[in-house]
């Protein structure tokens, strides 16, 4: 059986490597994409996004020409899906509704007929985008504080309840960094953009990221009075081992659903599910291998100091 507490050096090293890799991905993304740590979608930075389903094959150049002639010189035209899908995506700066209509009409006359029931377009002004981004940061902050307060309150009967809250938040932040790093990597490799859906997934990961921690801490809370006199390290390790079956079984069940949707689900939902999958996996790791050993380190550090003081 793994000794979660004794192997903490190994776990901390793995966590460190994961964090470092994530930071590298974020920095590379920032270098590649003009200071964007994640590729930001128009939800947050403003702009217009067209997803166009043409009836017949069309070429990229003629699509771009229509946009350039309408004053959108910086339009980025990309093919979506396979060649015979005839689906194209165009990103450009914020366009007024009249502009959007004119571009669509021009595309129909000059490029080819658009199947409007299978197309969509979305335009966001940059001010509203900036506001969403600000609120998003606030939401993440609020979620962290709420969870910290909740754990502090619900473990108020154990010694040093604040520490339980703090190590949970540390684990959560590590989890968030790893999830962000993964998304930055996918942004570089697959062009995934951080949109409102991504934010929802991230907030969900934060919400679930304390579930494992709470279960283990709950067992520690129960075991402290039962095994009075045992070293804290032993109590903690016992608690982890007693609950690890449950962590793995739950994880497995959530993964069944997520992997199925990833493999067979619609393409729009894939980044959303992938973020949750990575977040959940890293959550189990950070809970058992970062939060719990960190709590032991903190308590023992105190203990040693007390011994030193007693000796002197």
């Amino acid at each position: 059986m793994i000794n979660f507490v004794q192997n903490r050096r190994l776990f901390f090293t793995i966590a460190g490597v994961l964090i470092a890799l994530s930071l590298v991905a974020l920095v590379v993304s920032a270098i590649l994409f003009d200071g964007q740590f994640l590729r930001i979608s128009i939800d947050f930075k403003g702009g217009t996004l067209f997803v166009l389903q043409f009836d017949a094959p069309v070429d990229e150049v003629s699509i771009r020409e229509v946009f350039v002639d309408n004053g959108h010189t910086g339009a980025i035209v990309q093919r979506l899906g396979a060649v015979d899908d005839n689906m194209w995506q165009v990103r450009t700066r914020f366009a007024e509704t009249e502009e959007v209509q004119k571009i669509l009409d021009d595309l129909e006359t000059r490029v080819g007929h658009i199947n409007r029931t299978l197309s969509n377009w979305n335009t966001v002004e940059s001010t509203v985008g900036a506001e969403v981004a600000r609120y998003a940061a606030l939401a993440v902050l609020a979620a962290s504080i709420a969870v910290l307060g909740f754990i502090w309150f619900s473990f108020r009967k154990v010694p040093n309840p604040f520490r339980y809250g703090v190590v949970s938040i540390v684990a959560m932040l590590v989890n968030v960094v790893i999830t962000l790093g993964f998304y930055a990597l996918m942004g570089i490799l697959q062009g995934w953009e951080a949109d409102a859906l991504f934010l929802t997934a991230l907030l969900t990961v934060i919400g679930f990221s304390v579930q494992d921690v709470i279960v283990v801490f709950d067992r520690i809370r129960e075991n402290i009075p039962r095994h009075r006199g045992e070293p804290f390290e032993l109590i903690v390790n016992r608690s982890v081992l007693e609950t690890v079956h449950r962590s793995l079984a739950t994880q497995l069940n959530a993964m069944f659903v997520m992997v199925a949707i990833l493999l067979f689900g619609g393409s729009t939902i894939k980044p959303f599910i992938a973020v949750m999958l990575v977040g959940m996996l890293s959550e189990t790791f950070t809970s058992l291998c970062v939060a719990v050993p960190l709590l032991v380190v903190w308590e023992e550090h105190d203990h040693k100091r007390a011994l030193v003081r007693a000796a002197a």
Binding site: T97, T117, N120, L203, R219, N253, F256, F264, M276
Partner: protein, 466 residues
Amino acid sequence: MERRNIIYFVLILLLAAVAVYGVVWQQHPEWVTNLFFWQPASSRNLDFQLGLDLQGGLQVLMVADLPEGRTVGAQDMATARNIVENRVNALGLTEPVVQVQGTERIVVEIPGIEDPAQAVDTIRETAMLEFATPPAGVTADTLYALRELQMPISTTHLMSEAEIQSTSAMTDVFLFTTELTGGELDSAYVVRDPNTSQPLVAIEFKPEAASKFASYTASHVGNALCIILDKRIISCPNIQTSIPSGKATIEGQFTYESASQLAVQLQYGALPIPLKIESYKAIGPSLGSLSVEKSVRAGIVGLAVVFLFMLIYYRINGLAADLALALYVLLNLLLYKLVPVTMTLPGIAGFLLSVGMAVDANILVFERMKEELRHGRSLKRAAEAGFSRAWTSVRDSNLATLLTCLILYIFGNAFAASLVKGFAITLAIGTVVNLFTAIFVTRTLVRVAFGAAGEWIQKRAWLLGL
């Protein structure tokens, strides 16, 4: 004890029957749907409400277009919302949604619309009516020319002091001084001139504006007062006498149709504040259904694996958990229909995921039960210990999830991130239903089973997955 379990068991069966009826049956008699008093009377039903991303449609986010530093009153926003709603309803489309979002935004959602361009045009027409004094030194001929050419002019309405200063300094701009606006109108209707039988638009101001209008007309007899619609002059009549009644007529070269159109616009459509379209989203109606079908099918495959896993890993307990899980799915779907919750693609994904997570509470209990059995407890004692000891973990982790839902909801409510909001609601409903099915329902099922055949099960350890 025994008897109470049987009663609970029967009640759970009844609930399951109601859920099956509500979810699986497509048609429901009127007296059933009439029970849903919290739904608007016109659209009480047991259908799934599909979000824009699933059935396609148009979402327009508008913001009050005011100069820097000016804020909008909640009353003005509510009025503007009603006006926009009237206009959208005039398009005759099914179930449009018009809502105020935050302090200065209005979001319009029109599902299943074929021609978004026309809808946008209707929504964005402002019909801003102003009564304004022409700039000093402008002759009647100039006013006539401005009107005939329908030249856009400037008015002081919603301008700051500094802007008025700088604009009036410009020689090539006609700056009209706004005295009253359409927001202060009480009513507008068509009348005919008693002498010429020419159609006229009669207007009545609200009492407060009426006294303002009275004192203004009293002090400006002989001067022109221009009636301006959307920054274009309609007419510039001369003030003949003071008008104390707050009633006035607008003369223009109206036909009966154009007069009544203006009257309707003024009555229902005079926006108290100008609105600017900030975000505009059009989704093809077949795009979403394609994607959702695939994802739902994929989710069902995943769930089948979850059911199988529980059965194989926890055997008889797993069977109880699977039954509770089936009830969980039914109750969730029933609540989505009853509340009603608007289904979006991430909402559905969140629901499927929550089914996967819903077994967590069962797993906590069953693992605990196994532990107790290994310590040599009897089957019934182990079961009770499993449920009561696991409860604190289940409670705390679910409360943490509910807390996150609340934050997501607040965040989603602050602006048009309706996807986020829908997701938060589905997740919260799932969490609460889960507490009920995974703890109460599973416990009742396990107690009934152990009560009926406890000894028989105890002798066959493999049934418990030990």
